[in-house]
Symmetry: C2
Subunit: 235 residues, 2 copies
Amino acid sequence: MQSLTIDTGASTGRQKKVSLTETAYLALRNRVLSGELRPGAEFSELELADQMSMSKTPVREALGRLVAEGLIEAFPRRGYRVTPVTVKDINDLFAIRAMTEGTAAAMAAINLSAGDLDRLEAMAEARYDPQQGESVQSFVKANRDFHLAIAEGANNQRLLALVTSHLDECTRLFYLGAVSRDVNPETSADHRRIVDVLRLRDPDLARAAMVEHSEHTQQGILKALIASDTTALTL
Amino acid sequence: MQSLTIDTGASTGRQKKVSLTETAYLALRNRVLSGELRPGAEFSELELADQMSMSKTPVREALGRLVAEGLIEAFPRRGYRVTPVTVKDINDLFAIRAMTEGTAAAMAAINLSAGDLDRLEAMAEARYDPQQGESVQSFVKANRDFHLAIAEGANNQRLLALVTSHLDECTRLFYLGAVSRDVNPETSADHRRIVDVLRLRDPDLARAAMVEHSEHTQQGILKALIASDTTALTL
DNA sequence: AACGTAATATACTACGAAATATGTCATGTC
DNA sequence: GACATGACATATTTCGTAGTATATTACGTT
């Protein structure tokens, strides 16, 4: 076979053409995480292929990855559906999140430079208007950036990947039921406290602050989801 | 589309026919984890398809999942190779393992019944003869069962999945370089201590014992890999 | 209620197109 | 004359399309 010398093409700023499989994967994942495809929704390969005007194969490969991730369920020879969400699921998910992000914060407390911390502090100032969908979306992105910046500070690629995927799944729950709630005061207070303890360079305190923040988010989302009359939750 | 009423077929004990994609995925993953396909090894879809006497499509779908898991790297329009292993990789991996299995042990300390603990204690007695490949393999399986039994005690499916995948990756490193070493005394001592502290139902002690065991394994594997003259490690 | 038949959707094969690497050869430079 | 450089042809490999086979469900008939 051909030799596999590596050229990431990172140095040249040329535009990277992504495969249809990657396109389908990102689009589908986004539709699930944004709540456009709600838990329990059923669909077929052909249906999605037509929507995205591509053949079934790339759609099929994208679905395979999402099934492996657990976001979608496959029913052999019958079809697919978005994996239903249960209360236990949510608790399990947030237990993982507290673990991964808590560990990341503890490691970041040691690694982050003063400049990094200043940038984090600026990120923690993000606010939003619960009435405006656009504002909600940019707040969600800012929140994501804040958490990922800390996870990057852990200097562990595997941990960063774990944090990213679980954080995105938590955000999905936020979209599913808690959009109407105003979490501004709680979130910004938590984020500020996290930056404060990171400055102390104390791993244990940083972990505790992050775990506490995760638990706050969990409580808020559980309340909002249970209160909402949507079909987001399955028993 | 057809309705997706659920029938897992679990109640009927009928034999489950697995798809070629699943077959290819399991076979490839096993070849990588067992060290048959070593880090850096290059190959093509056609090559693998011929070996397993199937079409390229199921192979391709299996490779997609392994790429997503990080076990294999894809080079668009050129081919694939087994992801090289670096020392930092190993340290990152074991940091994750200590985190996930430590957390699992802490949760298991609360959940496990006396009967569960007795079964665990029996599992901890597994020994092997470093000279016999067959014995090594059954020891590795027993070790896996021991760790997964604890992870199941955490009662969190997501955590169990994380523990499983990372434990398997650690086992791969064991196969890659440490086969010759005799880890019997160290392992059984650690395992016995873990069962002992689990009996105390103290989450913090259980976590500490598990983390310590993970670190012992990490040190042993690092030493063995660096000492071995194999090409398993990339700088 | 049991059975047969049609409809539907996946699972897989086969093939063609596009992209990348490699080898050859002509050309130019020292 | 030796060597480097670029153009072009060719081989290799993935990427995606299209079509076939098979499994499963739904439904009508007896």
